[in-house]
């Protein structure tokens, strides 16, 4: 099953490689991983999207917790949570497709942030599934370039991951 794990870790050189190394050394999947400092610059917040059986997910949580640099961890998938990912997609926008692509971007609440006479760059924020869905609608023939940040997640309401 797909899980979104959020963690707070020391914002130190090498902390990211400890997490990445753990996943590769133990053969766990990483679908995406995104990380940046928080309002406290000594802490980084990381969101990892992974998948595996319940036993594997339990081990992933435990192994992450065991890293000395990991200060707090929450498996967001165990409760109500929000998930957002940012995507920038550059598409070939010529002729009839130009109007159609604009409509598509609007339907998904995306924004066209750069245009030339033959391209659009669309910005879209949403769940990973929504982003996938837009890409599918556009179709691979028209896509010139795709950049995705990987998911960021946060718990709903009082589900807070803080030190």
């Amino acid at each position: 099953m797909r899980h979104i794990i959020s963690l707070l870790m020391e914002n130190e050189a090498g902390a990211l490689s400890r997490v990445a190394g753990l996943f590769s050394a133990r053969g766990y999947n990483i679908e995406s991983l995104s990380v940046a400092p928080t309002e406290d610059p000594t802490l980084s917040r990381m969101t990892i999207v992974t998948s595996g059986s319940d036993a594997v997910i339990e081990q992933i949580n435990k192994q992450l917790n065991k890293l000395v640099d990991v200060a707090a961890l929450m498996d967001l998938s165990e409760g109500e949570h929000l998930e957002r990912e940012l995507m920038l997609v550059k598409v070939r926008a010529e002729g009839a497709a130009r109007e159609e692509l604009k409509r598509m971007a609007d339907t998904f609440h995306g924004r066209i942030i750069d245009t030339t006479d033959h391209t659009y760059t669309i910005e879209l924020t949403g769940s990973c599934a929504e982003l996938d869905s837009l890409l599918e609608k556009i179709g691979r023939d028209l896509i010139l370039e795709t950049v995705r940040t990987g998911a960021s997640g946060i718990g709903c309401g009082d589900r807070i991951l803080k030190l």
């Binding site: 090498g14 400890r18 190394g21």
Partner: protein, 569 residues
């Protein structure tokens, strides 16, 4: 007054009451060695290869409950140390390894003897640090010792660039340490401990399976009390040997791949299994699916949550320090009125004794013509009164020692269990002898393993370490040969040790005493003579039966009850 980084480092080691540092100098650690030279509180043991420095620090730590310390230079110094670090990591030895690094301004430029020490060691340390500022040395060393010793112990690497060791700052050793992202659990959950007590009291076929965690947390006394109170059979893992006295009637021997029939059968057929500081690894329970076929309740006490439910499903996890949890569990059991059912236990012991009879304990056919390796270990046990510190290398000799040297006390058995590192035994014995001066220390090894760190005979000479080396020389890499015989059609691919040195003359060349023993009748007199030489290192080259195999054996991938008792393949 301002001190250099190197001075600060040595002061920190003094503050940590470090008596011995095992190491090897080099360019990146010149300032540190200069400061070592200027004082005499921290003594340095000059090994002949950095791997040996780390193994020696490991043996030092395992036999004493202190943190072992090793010091190596950058680049090859560090890479040579990696095998030792990984060995310590797998067996949870508390250790601090200090490595020199090229100067901060040269890092990343492929400088002479530069290697990414933090990157290379990351997967095999509990934690590691690169100290970029001299102001951080004292707090980092404090943290390193704290991390190494607390929670589940392990090796911690501190990488110090050469310029940092020469920069100056004021020195103050922190009185306390706290790491906001690190909070090891010590006390177990009281509710779960009460539940465990209830499950154990209601068990009809209880079994206690104790590992290295018992030794690491010094919980042998508590374990013995618990086993006797519950009147349960008890087995030890390879790492746990000595954690429960082998001479106790409740002891059913080691379990696992080369464990006894009774231990493995009791593991398989108990109804409540209490795992204490053990991790259900592949050499212990064999095939996981086979193990899980039988319904039994499992209680698992471990300080490391990630060891629980990693390979087997656990019904009742208790995260905590083994000693504290057992103390509390004993309190609950003693405070209640309930006792285990004598009738159920009598039936269970009848069954266990039947298994004992089938397995016949550990058996081998002795010979008057050729030396049987098991016989040497039995005699070693007898002559040392079962009270020696025994280190080993890895292979058949290791298993025979585990089986036939009946350890009654913890911290006497020093072996590389998790990583299975050949070359561990001799340097580990150096560390053991250093921290236990005057004690009897023997290294049981093979003609293959001993050659992996034989240069340490020179260190032993320099530091007058009267270690007794028991080489079971069968001319083969015996354990690999055994597998080739069983599973690869007797094709002994590269396991015959051709062109062996004359170990007697080799020992003599290093300034030690060498003995060659070729007849069974000479085994006992030779051992007696060797152990009577209190001040000499004696290298005993026992020529043993090259065809002897280690039994019992649970073949790889098989279940515990699919154990093979003898040559019946």
């Amino acid at each position: 007054m301002e001190l250099t980084g190197a001075e600060i480092l040595i002061r920190c080691l003094q503050e940590e009451q470090v008596e011995y540092v095992f190491g090897y100098p080099g360019g990146a650690v010149l300032f540190i060695y200069d400061e070592l030279f200027k004082q005499d509180k921290v003594k340095h043991v000059l090994v002949r290869h950095e791997q040996a420095a780390v193994h020696a620090a490991d043996g030092y730590a395992r036999s004493s409950d202190k943190v072992g310390v090793a010091l190596v230079t950058s680049g090859p110094g560090l890479t040579n140390a990696v095998t030792g670090i990984a060995t310590a990591y797998m067996d949870s030895t508390p250790m601090v390894v200090i490595s020199g690094q090229v100067p901060t301004f040269a890092i990343g430029e492929d400088a002479f003897q530069e290697v990414d020490a933090v990157g290379i060691t990351r997967p095999c340390v509990k934690h590691n640090f690169l100290v970029k500022d001299v102001k951080d040395i004292a707090s980092t060393i404090k943290k390193a010792f704290y991390l190494a010793k607390s929670g589940r112990p392990g090796p911690v690497l501190v990488d110090i660039p050469k310029d940092v060791s020469n920069h100056k700052t004021t020195f103050e050793y922190p009185a306390s340490v706290s790491i906001r992202s690190y909070h090891p659990v010590s006390k177990g959950d009281s509710g779960q401990i009460r539940q465990a007590a209830q499950m154990l009291l209601e068990a009809k076929r209880p079994m206690i399976y104790a590992g290295g965690g018992v030794v690491l947390s010094d919980a042998s006394a508590q374990l013995a009390d618990l086993v006797r109170l519950l009147d349960s059979p008890c087995t030890n893992t390879l790492m746990g040997l000595g954690g429960f006295p082998a001479s106790d009637k409740h002891f059913v021997g080691m379990l696992g791949m080369h464990g006894t029939y009774e231990a493995n059968m009791a593991m398989q057929h108990c109804d409540v299994l209490l795992a204490v500081g053990a991790r259900f690894d592949d050499r212990v329970i064999g095939n996981v699916e086979h193990f899980a076929q039988v319904p039994r309740k499992i209680i698992h006490i471990d300080i490391d949550p990630s060891s629980i439910a990693k390979r087997v499903k656990v019904d009742l996890p208790i995260v905590g320090d083994v000693r504290l949890v057992l103390d509390e569990l004993l309190g609950v059991l003693r405070g209640g009125r309930q006792a285990p059912s004598p009738a159920a236990l009598a039936a269970w012991w009848k069954q266990v004794d039947e298994w004992r009879a089938i397995g016949g304990g550990l058996r081998y056919k002795n010979s008057s013509e050729i030396i049987k390796p098991q016989f040497v270990i039995e005699k070693l046990h007898e002559i040392t009164g079962g009270d020696a510190f025994i280190t080993t290398d890895v292979g058949q000799h290791q298993m025979w020692t585990a089986q036939y040297y009946k350890f009654d006390k913890p911290r006497r058995w020093i072996t590389s269990g998790g990583l299975g590192t050949m070359g561990f035994g001799l340097p580990a014995a150096m560390g053991v002898q250093m921290v236990n001066p005057g004690a009897t220390v023997a290294c049981v090894t093979g003609e293959g393993s001993i050659q992996m760190n034989i240069q340490e005979l020179s260190t032993c000479k320099q530091f007058r370490l009267p270690i007794k080396i028991i080489a079971l020389n069968n001319g083969y890499l015996g354990m690999v040969r055994q597998w080739q015989e069983f599973f690869h059609g007797n094709r002994y691919s590269e396991t015959y040790m051709n062109a062996l040195p004359d170990f007697v003359r080799l020992a003599e060349a290093f300034g030690h005493v060498g003995m060659r023993i070729e007849k069974p009748a000479d085994v006992e007199p030779a051992l007696k003579e060797a152990f009577a030489r209190k001040n000499d290192l004696v290298f005993m080259d026992f020529r043993t039966d090259p065809t002897e195999n280690v039994f019992p054996m649970v073949p790889g991938g098989k279940g515990l009850s699919e154990i093979i008792l003898s040559e019946q393949l």
